[in-house]
Symmetry: C2
Subunit: 119 residues, 2 copies
Amino acid sequence: MKELLLNPVACHFAGRLWLQGPDDRFMGIGRLELLEKIGALGSISKAAQAMGMSYKKAWDLVNSMNAQVTTPLVSTQTGGSHGGGAVLTPAGQQVLEAFGAVQVRFQEFMRQETERLLG
Amino acid sequence: MKELLLNPVACHFAGRLWLQGPDDRFMGIGRLELLEKIGALGSISKAAQAMGMSYKKAWDLVNSMNAQVTTPLVSTQTGGSHGGGAVLTPAGQQVLEAFGAVQVRFQEFMRQETERLLG
């Protein structure tokens, strides 16, 4: 395969991986990054801003995630629609760690496949 | 994680994987299916039709793939723009097999990650 490609050194596997639930996606790289940013910034609106995402979109994602679990991943505090803070719950932290590890293994899978095909 | 999800049995990892070249995607699941159909049907227009894809889109994908390799993957025969047949070259067959195997390993990776998280 290496000899077939004009520029094999510039080629690599890329991809996307997500956990699909019965009705909706549960967790993918965007949702994972959103959880990470909420944990770091303590606010859904700040997390949305940091990702260049609308506040509505971020809320929709949080609601979609929270609707698929037995314990919310993100807990919001009172203080008006944009005013209150948000924190990752222990369940949210658990999801962040578990799916972060999946993404690391996926990166490693892609690295190995690139090496196998073109190394 | 299993106990956290409302409906873990209905959840599974899904994803997309492609070989990214320096300027364009080289090979992904859609391009792979197109090569397969061209090989089976002997025609780019029939392959496009079978995939519900426009003839132009199919040609653009074939041109993109052929432009990134030292030997064309698809060889077209004369007979007018829609009239001539198309065949997979040995290089095209080689790509089909190699990337088909990558996709099988990717499916297996996703199955294992689903099992690891929710099994």
